[in-house]
């Protein structure tokens, strides 16, 4: 009879991180289902100003599940938090995790301006109270040809837009990332035009899939993933999903976005995931992190429900 010693356990036999994380999500789910006093209490504590300093870790509780979530295998969190395109910190993907370590995400204000009834400066913690946090497991496709599956946390951006009460002149929404070269070493070099600006058409911004995001994997967003507040637009290439947002402007004309200014030929304003439009690289295939073989890229990254917004548009020229 073979008796295994403890050190016989191969690392591959230990519960993988993603399963472990699923367990945590399962527990979070119980919290929602129970809607118990404890869960609710924790949730409220989180939303209280300064609560983050009180809590030893940065778990977000009381997460709602979302019907938008995919059931695909979630990418391990260590990959998502150590493989970042965040040029404000570094153009090396391994760089931001360390360089963003001490980035200050409190206090944090977001200016809402432009064509809105309610121009205002909102404190981050008041924004987080606009709606209950949802977990949305989205595919995320980078224009460089890799993809990940991430359990983001947030709520639809439309919750914020509705409160801002845009006027009829608001045709586009422009997102501006914080400009702080003292904290963001990448901004000290002239790699891109700082601050980073991204934009969406109004209907895209109002689409329920478009997420105002402040967490992932059950926790607050790590600094290197765009803390404290970013957007996630899952049917567009990753660079459209602006990070560390300090200003949301409602404008009449298509905003000049950073990557579009840097290279208009490769990075169009729309930048919808599209395997048939070849820009920068061939976009027909992608490598899912953790997988060996390339897999075919899906139109709109598999989010067909957005197709209606582009009906009648030539997506080859409006890329």
């Amino acid at each position: 009879m073979l008796i295994k010693k403890a050190d016989d356990i191969r690392s591959s036999e230990i519960t993988p991180r993603d399963l472990y994380l699923n367990r945590r999500k399962f527990l979070a789910g119980i919290g929602v289902a129970g809607a118990g006093a404890v869960a609710a209490g924790l949730g409220l504590r989180r939303l209280m100003p300064g609560a983050d300093n009180v809590l030893a870790d940065s778990k977000i509780s009381g997460l709602q599940k979302s019907s938008f979530s995919t059931t695909e295998k979630i990418t391990p969190m260590t990959d998502v938090s150590h493989y970042n395109n965040y040029y404000e910190f570094s153009t090396d993907k391994e760089g931001p995790a360390d360089l963003a370590k001490n980035f200050k995400t409190r206090p944090w204000n977001v200016t809402i301006d432009g064509a809105v009834q309610k121009k205002q400066k909102l404190d981050l913690d008041s924004i987080l109270k606009f709606a209950a946090p949802e977990e949305r497991i989205y595919r995320h496709r980078c224009v460089e040809g890799w993809s990940i599956v991430v359990p983001w946390i947030g709520f639809s951006l439309s919750e914020l837009i509705k409160r801002a009460q845009p006027t009829s002149k608001a045709k586009y929404v422009q997102f501006t990332t914080v400009y702080d070269p003292g904290q963001m070493p990448g901004q000290r070099a002239n790699i891109l035009q700082w601050p980073y600006v991204e934009g969406l058409r109004m209907d895209e911004a109002m689409h329920p899939l478009t997420l105002l995001c402040f967490g992932m994997y059950g926790e607050n967003l790590p600094n290197q993933d765009g803390a404290p507040l970013r957007i996630i637009v899952p049917w567009k290439y990753g660079f459209k999903s602006a990070k560390a947002i300090v200003k949301i402007s409602f404008v009449e004309h298509e905003p000049n976005t950073t990557w579009n200014l840097a290279n208009p030929h490769d990075f169009g304003f729309y930048s919808n995931v599209n395997p048939n439009v070849e820009r920068y690289h061939s976009q027909a295939y992608e490598r899912r992190l953790g997988e060996f073989r390339p897999r075919p890229t899906l139109m709109f990254n598999g989010y067909d429900q957005v197709a209606g917004m582009y009906s009648g548009m030539d997506l080859a020229s409006n890329y």
Binding site: R10, S11, S12, T78, D79, V80, H82, Y83, Y87, T91, K93, E94, E144, W146, A189, I191, L192, W259, A262, N263, D266, E278, Y280, H281, S282, A284, Y285, R287, L289, F292, R293, P294
Partner: protein, 219 residues
């Protein structure tokens, strides 16, 4: 002595390759699920970048042998040049293999489309293909067969290959051109040395030619 040094340099030149092997298989060579785990979130991209970087580095090292030899008066350096050139080819082969195998999985349709449509791929492939005849004719036998002069002219292709390699890097980065620019500046200096060496005797000769008659009349 040189022989021992050659062994040392040979082994040292293999370190980047060994690092990749270790990163790839180090977490369990017989367990496919661990393959690549030591190379970060995107192992194939990492392998592509490491092999590409070392191809360019070895090209630059190879090109710096002659200037160093002449300027620093280190004639024995020449005995390392072929090895460095062949290592440039070795890492170039790995880079090319990574692209067609790990990146494209022999999807010929994708590869041909890439080569035809993406100029950074086209020029990268050019840089690699140009190295093939140089690697093939790197032996003493081939030098004899071609004759020193012809062999030397052929091996001037390394200039073209290195220029193409740096442009390949320059064209593929999205915005941050600082690293390819570093390679470009070093390559520029190494090529400038050659232009200088070629030009100076010609200039001084023509100067001498115009100066000589005047000194004669002064006499």
């Amino acid at each position: 002595m040189i022989r021992l040094a050659k062994v040392g340099v040979f082994l040292a030149s293999l370190i980047p390759f060994a690092g990749l092997l270790w990163g790839f298989f180090g977490r369990g060579p017989f367990d496919m699920t661990t393959w690549g785990a030591g190379l970060g979130a995107n192992p194939i991209e990492k392998i592509t970048h490491v092999t590409g970087d070392w191809t360019l580095r070895f090209l630059l090292i190879t090109l710096s042998i002659t200037p160093l030899r002449k300027l620093q008066k280190l004639p024995w350096l020449i005995r390392f040049r072929r090895m460095f050139g062949l290592f440039a080819f070795f890492y170039g082969c790995l880079h090319f293999l990574t692209y067609i195998w790990l990146d494209k999985f022999f999807n010929l349709h994708e590869i041909f489309a890439d080569v035809a449509k993406r100029k950074f791929i086209t020029i990268g492939l050019t840089a690699f293909v140009l190295l093939i005849p140089l690697a093939v004719t790197s032996t003493a036998g081939w030098i004899r067969r071609l004759g020193g002069k012809r062999w030397q002219s052929l091996h001037r292709l390394i200039y073209v290959s290195a220029i193409a390699g740096v442009i390949h890097y320059l064209w593929l980065v999205k915005a941050d051109i600082r690293k390819p620019l570093q390679y470009g500046i070093i390559l520029g200096l190494l090529l400038f040395y050659r232009i200088w060496v070629w030009l100076v005797p010609r200039i001084s000769r023509s100067n001498a030619a115009s100066v000589v008659p005047r000194t004669r009349t002064a006499n």
